[in-house]
Symmetry: C2
DNA sequence: TAGTGGTCTAGACCACGAC
DNA sequence: TCGTGGTCTAGACCACTAT
């Protein structure tokens, strides 16, 4: 690990360089979800820095939900299990504060040329194609969300032929393509329900629905998935914490 | 600072105890917004712990936006200036990515008995009263937000008699009552515009608007302000980052 | 009992800002 | 040139887990 002695420009702290090299192991699949990684002392010896520097790198990765540390046991690569996804990526909460994972029913799957919006958000070229998955999601047995997931066809072609799409697609991305969703950005608007959406949600056409447009990014920061959800916020709300 | 030697239960790390005692200085007004606080070495000597422990406490407070650290200069108590509030507490962004602070026009001010919702969210007793401020906020000259701010009358009675309500009310809370807003929780729903709101926003009654209900908390975790905003999401959206 | 992560300390040197 | 926060190291002890 280079110590970056005199150059003032482009300086990166040692622990940040260590972190980058450890994230690289996740990207390359050298460390897989659920796996126990070497102890701090072992990593310190291997990389040639002190345990404290390793600790700072691991703490930063833990703060980004890439690792899970368990005292007395060791440090593990984070897995996209339901409970974590529920808290990290699913913000629709019952008005009484209950959190629960929605169930899903697939409406259709299709491959088509990407729309300008899809090309822009997923950084796709002019003639790109996308796989689209439409589904209805229910909370407490009530259909409240209509959702369209758009994926670059080039990268995710195999999803079109799959016999079944699981409810937790981020685990599918991880297991089938080795893609880890590290962060996502959402844009929220209030819109009028289109007739087709209204039919699925059991509301009047034109009724106000919450539109959530999400772009999800992998470990390298590349956009992977565009997801547009339209939600009936009756008895549920989108929770956001500012601090 | 007690070292908490053998009791396994209710153990709190030393740096967390130090942090609590430093936050207490902010609560009590011993350290005021904008003020330069003592150096790490001075605090270490004063409190009787190592510089590293002080550092960990200060880093945690910095992460919570309570302090601002400037290399070579020192550590300062954070101030509620526009630019910080804009990023920390204002999530409505132009669709092209531009962020700007809205202008405000006060519609009315009044003191009234708290509604059940206000009592629940602000933890008020049965006969409590609140001061309500209604205003319209514009972005790029267009009125896009109708907002009602509810404050416990007991604590903020003086606001009713003020000649003018500034645009940045969090700075007002800080300067006039020494109240620092540390964090807030928002609940978002899509609702139909009420006729009165529609008139102010220049949209049709029943048009979909984004309702944002925010409860803001002070340094001690007490709810201070309930704010319900109804926003026309035309050309703007609510931005949310998940990570 | 051994090994892990969590906390705490002490001291060194670097980068930045003010003087 | 000095004092600040930022980084890095090395070593001690504590708390938790598994054996």
């Amino acid at each position: 690990m280079s110590q970056a002695a005199e150059p003032t420009f482009a300086y990166r702290p040692l622990y940040a360089q260590v972190k980058d090299s450890l994230v690289r192991r996740l990207i390359d699949g050298a460390w897989l979800p659920g796996q126990l990684i070497p102890s701090e002392m072992d990593l310190a010896r291997e990389i040639g820095v002190s345990q404290g520097t390793i600790r700072k790198a691991l703490d930063a990765m833990t703060a980004e939900n890439l690792l899970v540390r368990r005292q007395g046991r060791g440090t593990y690569v984070a897995e996209p299990e339901e409970s974590r996804i529920l808290f990290q990526f699913f913000r629709l909460v019952s008005d009484d504060g209950q959190r629960s994972f929605p169930t899903s029913r697939i409406l259709c799957r299709a491959t088509a040329p990407a729309t300008p919006d899809e090309r822009e958000r997923l950084l796709l070229g002019p003639d790109s194609r996308v796989v689209r998955i439409e589904r209805v999601r229910s909370l407490g047995g009530r259909p409240l969300i209509v959702e369209t997931i758009s994926l670059p066809h080039e990268r995710f072609a195999a999803i079109e032929a799959m016999s079944e799409i699981p409810n937790n697609v981020y685990r599918l991305y991880s297991q089938k393509w080795g893609v880890t969703i590290a962060r996502a950005v959402e844009r929220l608007k209030a819109v009028a329900a289109a007739p087709a959406d209204a039919a699925e949600l059991g509301c009047a056409p034109g009724a106000p629905v919450l539109e959530v447009a999400r772009v999800a990014y992998d470990l390298e920061g590349n956009p992977v998935e565009l997801r547009v959800s339209r939600c009936l916020t009756e008895g549920i709300h989108y929770a956001s914490e500012l601090r």
